[in-house]
């Protein structure tokens, strides 16, 4: 009997010990782990930052064509360094398209070709990619199709050789047929190994495509349609953009300092280049064309009125244009490179009050994005109940190929920590996926941490998320899908449009620069 009691006591002891260790581990994890999960590290600004909602919202200028004819519109842009006042009292050096950040907006019509002559007056090679564009390979801005600056002597333009690269001196003309649905696209630098710092310094702009489907809906337009390019940045004590490049000249070793390997985030939220701006509106209906142009930061947007009430964000479009029907969100998640087309109705809100656009994933300064001040009464307008009827529908049964693709941490060619697709870092000389022109494919994407995965050339539909039905914001035609830690997403698309060498990659710009990119050859 005594023996039994001893052993029972011992058993209890072991059980209690095990329980204590398990509870301790869980408590440690709860305290240490980031909840919600965040992929990336935040840089802290040293410059004096302005009060939130004190500066007006800038609207990027619309670029006028240098030539317009029956065959389309022709534009010219110069990539050059300028100084601009982003933080009051500081002159910040920026790399810009045409001297402005964001770059000038291009307004285009479906099927009407646009050509853009880009001239590189910066100190490093550049290459322009039109994100979301249905663009032939020669103008898609392949990362080694570099435009070299005058007098460039750097023998290593990037870390790996590429026989197929088309390199030009000083300038290059890109041709965009734009045979695609109305959507808000964006153009940005896509230079191999250095995309993250180039976008960070300012090389990004908006490009709208319009069509008859959109016209027919009579959505809010002109000053009731607001482009919002959201991007986080950090500033050093002199007010210059801070970025943890291993080589700040961006001519030698690529990559970022170790704590930032998962992504670089800033503590200042810029909208159209202004920190936490405010914009005057009336009590009518507005259309917000939102782009997350941040390198690594995810947002979860919520519009909050002064009385604490949530003003719904009614999504009418996705990366690749209008949805079939509106989707109402209290909170709208926003991954890098994703675009959302939303309507917000300020009806019923008191004149003189403000509505904050908050970021529920942020803390401190990054918990705010911008604000709207209700300045006057305005005419109300209805939200259409149905939207576009031209969305492509693909069925699983049509798929010629089903592919599994893993996006996870790994090693770059030189052995340094990087990010890999199916175990391999980017190599321009290797074809990773060969798709047949015109065929439907299902891709099953799997992630270890957050990876916003982007396919060039095509739009796709989200079939499932985590083996279940997609989330409400996955609706419509997308070109970038946000994978969360440990998550898998199935997408379906048809590879048509153009043959040639295209890309798919993670749009966390630091992951992209450190290997997480792969070749898609359409034959």
């Amino acid at each position: 009997m005594g023996e039994l009691r001893t052993s029972r006591r011992r058993l209890l002891g072991i059980g209690a010990g095990l329980g204590a260790v398990a509870a301790g581990g869980l408590a440690l994890s709860a305290a240490w782990a980031r909840r919600p999960a965040v992929t990336g590290e935040e840089l802290r600004s040293e410059a004096e930052l302005p009060q939130a909602f004190s500066l007006p919202l800038p609207i990027p200028p619309v670029l006028a064509p240098v030539e317009s004819g029956a065959g389309g519109d022709r534009y010219e842009m110069v990539q050059r360094e300028v100084e601009a006042e982003i933080l009051p009292g500081y002159a910040t050096r920026l790399w810009t398209y045409e001297g402005s950040f964001p770059g000038p907006t291009i307004e285009a019509r479906r099927g009407r070709p646009v050509t853009v002559l880009h001239r590189n007056e910066l100190t490093v090679p550049t290459v322009v990619h039109l994100h979301g564009g249905r663009t032939p390979a020669a103008s898609d801005g392949y990362p080694t199709d570099l435009v070299l600056p005058q007098g460039w002597t750097g023998h290593h333009a990037h870390s790996m050789p590429d026989d197929r690269a088309v390199v030009t001196d000083v300038q290059r003309e890109y041709g965009f047929p734009l045979d695609q649905r109305a959507a808000m696209l964006w153009y940005h630098d896509h230079r191999m190994d250095f995309t993250g710092p180039a976008i960070w310094r300012g090389l990004a702009g908006l490009h709208f495509v319009r069509d008859e489907v959109e016209d027919a809906l009579d959505l809010p337009r002109s000053d009731r349609e607001l482009p919002l390019m959201i991007a986080d940045r950090a500033f050093d004590a002199e007010g210059q953009l801070a970025y943890p490049s291993l080589d700040p000249t961006l001519t030698g070793e690529h990559g970022v300092e170790e704590p930032f390997l998962a992504g670089v985030m800033g503590d200042v939220v810029l909208v159209n280049g202004a920190p936490w701006p405010i914009h005057e509106v009336d009590t009518g209906l507005y259309r917000l064309r939102i782009l997350n142009a941040s390198n690594a930061r995810h947002y979860e947007l919520e519009a909050v009125a002064e009385d604490g009430r949530t003003v719904p964000l009614v999504q009418i479009g996705s990366d690749q244009g209008l949805l079939a029907a509106p989707v109402r969100h209290e909170r709208l998640p926003l991954a890098p490179a994703e675009r959302y087309d939303v309507l917000i109705d300020f009806a019923g809100l008191p004149v003189g009050s403000t509505v904050r656009l908050a970021n529920r994933l942020g803390s401190g300064g990054t918990a705010e994005v911008m604000a709207f001040r209700i300045a006057r009464e305005g005419a109300s307008a209805p939200i259409p109940e149905t939207l576009a009827d031209d969305l492509p529908e693909w069925d699983r049964s049509e798929a010629a190929v089903v592919r599994d693709l893993a996006f996870r941490a790994g090693r770059m060619e030189d052995g340094r920590h990087g990010w890999v697709v199916d175990g391999l870092p980017f190599d321009p000389a290797r074809t990773d996926v060969t798709a047949r022109f015109g065929e439907v494919e299902v891709w099953r994407l799997i992630a270890d941490v957050h990876h916003p995965v982007h396919l060039h050339l095509v739009g796709f539909r989200v079939l499932s998320r985590g083996g279940r039905t997609p989330l409400p914001h996955d609706a419509g035609l997308k070109d970038t899908v946000s994978l969360r830690p440990g998550e898998a997403v199935e997408i379906i698309t048809r590879f048509d449009g153009y043959r040639g060498r295209f890309l798919f990659h993670c749009h966390n710009a630091e992951h992209e620069d450190m290997g997480m990119m792969a070749n898609l050859e359409i034959v």
Binding site: L18, V21, A22, G25, A30, R34, A37, D404, I446, G467
Partner: protein, 114 residues
């Protein structure tokens, strides 16, 4: 066994095999069912031979496994990973305890009759 296969399926999944996810979900369901059955058996042990610890440890494991299921479901990996390891340790410990201290004859006889 099902419990020990769960991290295997998770590893297969994260290595890029999408089917690993379906196996991981099936495994999770299986672990849940086994847990309920074990809890039932533990109730029988408590009633028939007045031994309570199998019930309490089984209950702890079932509650842990349920939390684990939902943590995985909502993607709370901060909880899912350490809890998974703790559950495996718990299963191993209970297994060892039962193995080392088999239930008394009386119960076996009763069970044989019943």
């Amino acid at each position: 066994m099902a419990g020990f296969l769960q991290p295997v399926f998770a590893g297969v999944y994260l290595s890029g095999d999408y089917d690993g996810l379906a196996w991981h979900v099936t495994g999770a369901n299986l672990v849940s069912y086994i847990g309920i059955i074990q809890l039932g058996a533990a109730v029988a042990v408590w009633v028939r031979v007045r031994r309570a610890w199998p019930f309490w440890t089984s209950l702890a494991l079932v509650l842990g496994a349920t939390a684990q299921y939902f943590a995985g479901d909502v993607g709370a990996l901060w909880l899912h990973f350490p809890l998974g390891v703790a559950l495996i340790a718990g299963i191993a410990a209970v297994f060892a305890a039962v193995w080392r201290r088999p239930l008394p004859r009386r119960f076996k006889a009763v069970r044989a009759h019943g």
